[in-house]
């Protein structure tokens, strides 16, 4: 029942992705050694977010799957972020 034709991700793409990931890692280490105050967390999280998008899209093949998969991943992330957000209605205003 393998009606879908498989997409083969070339080695080259994957290696390029890894290099970008390593650069982003180096960047986040470097950036957090500087003092940005409260932006520190934000920058670190943005970089981590960028990295995870790369991993999801290329290593986990989301870019090549049916539309349904990325939509589900996005929905789960949205639910998680909403839970976090709603929780902080309590903790931010105690």
């Amino acid at each position: 029942m393998s009606e879908e034709k498989t997409h083969i991700v070339p080695y080259k793409t994957q290696i390029v992705v890894l290099i970008v990931l390593l650069i982003l890692t180096a960047l986040s280490v470097a950036v957090t050694q500087l003092e940005f105050g409260s932006y520190n967390t934000l920058v670190a999280m943005l970089l981590a977010g960028a990295k995870s998008v790369l991993v999801l899209a290329f290593f986990m093949h989301l870019k090549y799957e049916k539309k349904l998969f990325p939509v589900m991943v996005a929905a789960v992330m949205v639910i998680f972020l909403l839970v976090l957000f709603v929780t902080f209605f309590d903790y931010s205003y105690r």
Binding site: M1, S2, E4, T6, I8, V9, P10, Y11, Q14, I15, V17, L18, L21, L22, T25, S28, V29, T32, E35, N40, T41, A44, M45, L47, A48, K51, S52, V55, L56, F58, F59, M60, E65, K66, F69, M72, V73, V76, M77, F80, V83, L84, T87, F88, Y91, S92
Partner: protein, 198 residues
Amino acid sequence: MTIHRDDLGDKFGMWLFIFTELLLFGMLFVVYAVYRSMHPEAFRIAAEELDVALGTINTVLLLISSLTVAMSITAIQKGNKQRALQLLGVTLLIAIIFLVNKYFEWGAKFEYGFYPGSEVLQELGFGTILFFGLYFFMTGIHALHILIGIGLFIYVIVQMKNDKIHQTDYVWLENTGLYWHLVDLIWIFLFPLFYLIH
């Protein structure tokens, strides 16, 4: 019962499982966020106790292992069993090195008395207790996932050697790969939250 094969369905199931894992760790991130918001200063100071170099090495290791798994899928898709096996072997090796690193890292913390319930921590106040509680619990659960991943890789390697996993039926490898990327994804967030943010 007729043999029913649905690779896409299997992958679908794996993704759903990954969602449960994401939310499981997600709730730990909620706990982290709450306590960080309560004790920002203590968390900042406690984070400096962790070894950034060791953390960075582990991050790089996991990223590379993610690449090797992804490449081994490409290899099997191209029918290159030998290369797929080699790449999986590398991944397995990296996973073990990660755990060895973790062992030394934890060992050092225990030596200095930074572990849940220790007297050193009791002296340092709530924020520090919570930081190290979270550190051990979250990296501990993560390490448990690495262990499970090692088991899966061994299984996949054996199956591939026996030609149970091959060019036209490799969903086990794909799903193991997805699992391993999940482990990597979690670490991508654990790393800055514990080691980097001061």
